[in-house]
């Protein structure tokens, strides 16, 4: 069904970005504009986008058809015809629902967090642009439009991570995020091209590709499936392209929240779900995705247990949770994966915002042990943080439990016991490191725990809304075993996810197992850290503390070796060979010219002699050729 409203979901945040950019230039060049104006533009536009999405969602809920909106023909070259077209089916509306909603809350939070910053207006311009890019990505009707949004979030993440650009480290982190993402983007674009040719160039619209998926040979589908997943690995920070995510913590905290909860990192999972018709036909690649997810989940969780920076712990936990999502989508349980994306958006945004509030109260101290040593009372942040920790640890009845349990059950049902085992162990580690974080920062005994800090309402309001979301979001997909309706599963039925079907006894047993594992992690952390002496902070040492030296290995393997190669090209190939040849030719001509210039000595007698000699030679030649015969 064509609708004129779909595009406004994207255009309104984009408009907000443009207005804020204009305001900011005016602010810089002419007259100061109060922060309030930027904040109003920045926060109202996502909310309007949310309202548009909500109305479309309600229409779909009423049993309406999928929405679509064709704006214009963008490219038409030979067989390749790309329309600027947006698709509002159940998957994309579901996704943009929480992207706009959680995004809106993070915008509100940013008003309080960024207060007094010189780049306040710029920040909101970037923020709105980030949201608009993500919405382009979500609502795209073909992979090329999706790629616009894909690159858009990449650029915005770069701009925002290096927002405090006066610090060299932040700029490096932004560069790292951007460059690592480029590797993935190359995979993505190659995957799209492969898919286009594999499908006999029928077109690039998702619906057309889905209808013609049988045309392609299995090998080409596997290749394009793999290449597309390389793109997802980059965006969603999976092994081996995850290295940018921890460094991305260099940006202000609202950015971390936005990247981790609503935009950017979930793009990879969304993209795999978008291409569900492709991945359903190549199970080997699906299995590969699931294993990548499992390894990433475990790897990140192990690293997180040793980190001391509050934001880095949360970053690794995001990577770990993304691993779960990839396990689900890789095994064909698309709705479970997206449900975890959905619940994760709530509790992860909340955790980051809570962490940001605490960091702000403690004058930008991020080391958890030092934060504890100078603790201040932050009751709302503490309470909401606790909700987030329980949710991510997977303790019922909070949202994380339902979504994570569905994924683990899915792995179990598909006989992937290794993945299931890794998932269970990761769940244990997750509970452990999250409660470690919570106990150290908020509970461990500290001498300075008196002064109460007033926290800005713009910071506490989103936290409380999200806390409600984190508590109740799980019930949206209440499992049928408890008499629930599994709303998300039935809503996303068009993805043809594999259904969970196991005996009730097994399902109860699995749930009990995951609860036991989570509680075990909790209790271990409680035992160790509830009365931890924060004056003796842990350090990041050993193999795990140094993140398995992956950054160093990458540095040697890629950065240093590429530098060596470029140096070789600069010093030898360019300087000696190419310049040697070109400059040698030029210098040769110059030196010959100098030698010849000697005869042009302005001496008339010599000139007469040259003339004479020349004429004599010509005469001699003429004599030999003409007369001498």
């Amino acid at each position: 069904m064509q609708t004129p409203y779909l595009i406004w979901i994207i255009l309104i945040p984009l408009l907000g970005a443009l207005i804020n950019t204009g305001f900011y230039f005016y602010h810089l060049k002419f007259k100061k504009i109060p922060e309030k104006l930027f904040a109003i533009v920045g926060t109202v536009t996502p909310f309007i986008a949310f309202l548009f999405t909500l109305s479309l969602f309600l229409k779909l809920l009423d049993g309406g058809e999928n929405f679509e909106q064709t704006l214009f023909q963008w490219l038409d070259v030979g067989q390749l015809s790309i329309e600027m077209k947006f698709l509002g089916d159940k998957l994309s509306i579901f996704m943009s629902m929480f992207v706009t909603f959680v995004g809106w809350l993070i915008h509100i939070y940013a008003v309080g967090y960024m207060k007094g910053d010189d780049g306040f207006g710029k920040f909101f311009a970037y923020f709105n642009l980030f949201l608009a890019s993500m919405l382009i990505l979500v609502l795209a009707d073909n992979p090329v439009i999706l790629f616009i949004g894909w690159e858009g979030v990449g650029v915005c993440s770069y701009l925002l991570i290096s927002f405090n650009y006066t610090d060299g480290d932040n700029v490096m982190a932004g560069n790292k995020a951007f460059i690592v993402n480029r590797v993935g983007d190359l995979g993505f674009i190659l995957g799209v091209v492969t898919l286009f040719f594999a499908l006999d160039q029928v077109g690039l619209s998702f619906s057309v590709m889905e209808a013609n998926i049988n045309v392609a040979s299995n090998e080409l589908l596997m290749l394009s499936g793999f290449l597309l997943f390389v793109g997802a690995m980059g965006k969603s920070a999976q092994v081996p392209l995850y290295v940018w995510l921890p460094d991305a913590m260099a940006g202000p905290t609202p950015i971390s929240a936005l990247i981790h909860a609503a935009t950017m990192v979930t793009a990879g999972v969304y993209m795999v779900a978008r291409f569900h018709f492709l991945y359903a036909s190549v199970e080997e690649i699906g299995l590969y995705i699931a294993y990548t997810g499992a390894i990433s989940a475990l790897f990140a969780a192990v690293i997180a247990t040793k980190q001391t920076d509050i934001k880095k712990i949360l970053a690794y936990s995001t990577m770990s949770q993304l691993g779960y999502m990839f396990i689900a989508v890789g095994l064909g349980f698309y709705s479970s994966g997206l449900f975890h994306v959905f619940t994760h958006a709530f509790f992860k945004a909340m955790l980051f915002m809570g962490a940001g509030g605490a960091i702000l109260a403690l004058h930008h101290q991020q080391n958890i042990f030092k934060m504890a040593a100078h603790r201040k009372r932050l009751p709302i942040i503490k309470a909401t943080f606790f909700v987030g920790v329980i949710a991510i640890a997977g303790i019922p009845p909070l949202s994380g439990f339902f979504s994570k349990d569905a994924i683990l059950a899915a792995a179990f049902q598909q006989d992937q016991y290794l993945i299931w085992g890794i998932g269970m162990f990761t769940a244990f580690l997750t509970a452990f490191y999250m409660f470690r974080l919570y106990y150290v920062v908020f509970e461990a005994p500290s001498k300075e725990e008196e002064s109460y800090v007033y926290t800005d309402k713009t910071i506490t309001f989103p936290l409380m809304v999200l806390a409600i979301g984190a508590i109740f979001a799980g019930f949206l997909n209440f499992p049928a075993i408890f008499g629930g309706s599994a709303f998300v599963d039935s809503w996303l039925a068009e993805l043809n996810s594999i259904k969970l079907h196991m005996s009730h006894a097994t399902e109860y047993a699995l749930m009990a197992a995951s609860i036991i594992v989570a509680v075990a992690g909790w209790m271990l952390a409680r035992k160790k850290y509830l009365n931890y002496d924060v004056s003796k902070p842990e350090t990041e040492d050993g193999l795990v503390g140094n993140k398995f030296y992956i950054d160093e290995i990458y540095d040697v393997l890629f950065v240093k070796s590429i530098k060596k190669l470029s140096n070789f090209f600069v010093d030898v190939v360019d300087d000696k060979i190419i310049d040697g040849f070109l400059m040698g030719t030029a210098r040769g001509f110059v030196s010959i010219g100098k030698k010849l210039a000697v005869i042009q000595n302005a001496n008339v007698r010599y000139y007469a002699f040259y003339m004479l000699a020349g004429i004599s030679l010509i005469s001699f030649y003429v004599y030999i050729t003409l007369i001498g015969q």
Partner: protein, 103 residues
């Protein structure tokens, strides 16, 4: 009547003397006179062969050469005067304004 070879040798000697004069002498006047010598050597050649072949073309051409040489003399002499006025010298080696400076 002397032989053709004699006339030819005399005209060649005249031309060669003129050539050597142009190339080797430094005084502009001498160079100018050497040029005249070359022209007259050629004239002698032309006249000799015209006579030998009973064909007047050569003589006509030699008269042409004499006429042009007269015109040339007018220009050449005035150029020499101008050159002398600028540098107060008649030495050709002084006039090296167009020389390419080689470092």
């Amino acid at each position: 009547m002397a032989s053709l070879t004699g006339y030819a040798i005399v005209s060649m000697i005249l031309f060669s003397l003129g050539t050597i004069g142009v190339v080797s002498r430094r005084n502009i006047f001498v160079i100018y006179m050497s040029i005249e010598l070359m022209l007259n050597g050629i004239n002698l050649f032309l006249v000799t062969f015209a006579r030998y072949h009973f064909n007047m073309d050569g003589q006509i051409l030699s008269v042409m050469v004499i006429a042009i040489a007269a015109a040339e003399a007018a220009i050449f002499l005035s150029v020499i005067i101008l050159l002398f006025r600028t540098k107060k010298s008649l030495d050709t080696d002084v006039f090296t304004e167009l020389k390419e400076e080689v470092e």
